[in-house]
């Protein structure tokens, strides 16, 4: 019997990393045809690093998938392609524009937020490739409706999440079984907070799209939010366009992602800023979650990841 002297050496990031690697390997061991959702955002950047640690020197046992809303920042798309090529892994891109052309997504106006419509394109991609598990970078601390999310979250054949019909999840014994057409969403960084993510990015020296760091940008103030002035989100008549130093805390569809004022132009500065920050991640920067207190819960029921 070996004395167990090493456990005390794991710091909290080591522990979170080891758990995430364990979850990724469970997906690989249990699922026939998984896929990893990679958007170029910071959470999925962490997932890719974790997948490297989990599976190298082998190849990833899954391709990468991005649902492109057509409203993404160019810097993020360029980063996405660069990172996938750097890893030498297969990247599948399915675009919401195709769903609009097919008629499965109907948008009210070309500039409205496409965030909620992503679910349709995602479900179409799942059907097209027959994926039985989608690995995502969602975290339980992001939003109230996620606090009860399972690490392996079951979705029925319509991609629906039924909070009352989730499998009990005990110890680390995950159950990824599905029948044809059903789907598991697996969340390896469920137990991470925004600060953990930034600390991990700093520790692993991970590259990110440049708009995560402080940069000068033209914005207008709308209520408490800073709205970036873009082709999709022009200033309204009478609004004052100001240039200020901002960074994005989350990155999504342009019309629903707002930056925060910041001078943090390095990962270390962002870690320090995140540690003392006084507003929640989604509260500050996701214009769509504020619509109603239960809006995330609603979207998840409809198949949002």
């Amino acid at each position: 019997m070996l004395p167990n002297t090493g456990a005390a050496r794991l710091d909290h990031l080591d522990w979170l990393e080891a758990e995430a690697i364990y979850i990724l390997r469970e997906v690989a061991g249990q699922c026939a045809n998984p896929v990893l959702l990679f958007s170029g955002g910071k959470d999925s950047v962490c997932l890719l690093r974790l997948a490297e640690k989990a599976f190298r020197p082998g190849r990833f046992p899954f391709p990468l998938l991005h649902i492109d809303t057509g409203h993404n920042y160019q810097e993020v798309i360029a980063f996405r392609d660069w990172r996938a090529a750097q890893l030498g892994e297969r990247l599948i891109v399915r675009s919401l524009e195709e769903s609009i052309r097919r008629g499965s997504v109907v948008v009210k106006s070309p500039t409205e937020s496409r965030n909620k419509h992503q679910s349709v394109t995602l479900l179409e991609a799942i059907a097209e490739f027959g994926f039985d598990c989608c690995i995502g970078g969602a975290r339980r601390d992001e939003e109230k409706a996620r606090a009860k999310e399972r690490v392996f979250s079951f979705r029925d054949e319509f991609g629906q999440w039924d909070p009352k019909n989730q499998r009990p999840e005990l110890w680390d014994l995950y159950n990824a079984r599905t029948f044809k057409g059903e789907n598991i969403r697996a969340f390896p960084i469920s137990n991470w907070t925004e600060l953990d993510v930034w600390q991990y990015i700093a520790r692993e020296k991970l590259e990110l799209p440049p708009i995560y760091f402080a940069h000068r940008r033209q914005i207008v103030r709308r209520g408490t939010a800073l709205v970036p002035v873009t082709g999709l989100t022009p200033a309204k008549p009478g609004e004052e366009v100001i240039e200020m130093s901002v960074r994005f805390r989350t990155i999504g569809d342009i019309p629903c992602t707002a930056p925060v004022e910041s001078f943090a132009d390095s990962t270390d500065k962002i870690v320090a800023e995140t540690a003392t920050i006084t507003i929640t991640e989604r509260g500050a920067t996701r214009l769509d979650d504020q619509t109603s207190e239960a809006s995330m819960e609603q979207r998840k029921k409809e198949g949002y990841f």
Binding site: H12, E17, E19, A145, L173
Partner: protein, 426 residues
Amino acid sequence: MSTIENLSAIDNGLLRFLTCGSVDDGKSTLIGRLLYDTKTILADALHAIEHTSRRRGLDGIDLSLLTDGLSAEREQGITIDVAYRYFSTGRRKYIIADAPGHEQYTRNMVTAASTADLAILLIDVRKGVLTQTRRHSCIARLLGIRHLVIAVNKMDLVGYSQQVFDAVKRDYLTFADRIGIADVRFVPLSALVGDMVVDRGERLAWYRGPTLLEILEAAPRAHSEDAEPFRFPVQYVCRPQAADDPELHDFRGYMGRVESGAIALGDRIRVLPSGGTARIKDIRSGERSVYTATAEQSVTLLLDAELDVSRGDMMVESTDALQPRKQLDAMLCWLSEIPLDVNRRYSLRHTTREVKALVAGIAYRLDINTLEREARAGLRMNDIGRVSFKLAQPLCADSYASNRSTGAFIVIDEASNNTVGAGMIL
């Protein structure tokens, strides 16, 4: 008070704990208080609950609203599921599993307890030890939680009286002794006012022990208290077979997490159930080679001999006496609305292995309020009983009391793919 601002302080890893008690005990308020006083609550979340508190005609902030969950349960005013919350003191990261208290939610508490190293059990000082307190204590004991903290809450409502606190403590100790709970600590506190949760406050000067947070900060880490045997269930086999890279051509890495104990380069291991032995040639953590790996680390092991190893196999030290077995006795908590059917075949998932199983017998059902045994022919949802299984293939199991990772299993109903039972091997 140390807060999240002290990022450079010593990182004492992570502690998972469970809170149990009913809404009436002030559990939500206690969690809200922990989050609030460790400055985990952010301005907009606070603003939202201030708004709701005002709308409901309350004077102050109702901290219990911070842990309010899904809209379905808000409507019903109950909590239907385990919620996970996070906070950090800069010295340690905490994961709270927040379990609802009602009797019909035994399975939720079992779920929450399965990953917890410590449990905080709330007692309303005015009500003392209730049936529910006993039930929660029994479950915590069954699930192998080593450290129990009894938070005697609402001290503000009894004038912070030491006498009342001492009476509750005496009562509980009598009960704890009977069911065999060894490590139990008591803290008098007021979650509402905040005394002895994070800050000491001024009204409980007679109490000289640590605050609740001080107990959490000092709680021993998982796997740190006893020497444990090495257990490594294989999760995944990595065979890159890259034709263009001669170094990778014969690469065969066994990927998994060390569930207990430790392993070092050169150690001789045995692969179960087949029994073949080999030495550890390389240990990889990410891209690096390391000399040792210890409990809770995810690594890749390389062997010096070619053995037939696949997912579901278990590596142990070569001298370990662990024997594969095709029969087991367990305490089983039933989780499904469809009762356990002794005539059906189930699937058991134990570590990374899945086997078919038949129920060989139900010895008794446990009264979860007293741990007394009752003869019973079946198990329904929220029942816990002693069940024996016959297995189609062997498992390499330890007793749950000696090893939580290799002593636990779940039962899967193959007709629905649902997880229907949680077992602890005897």
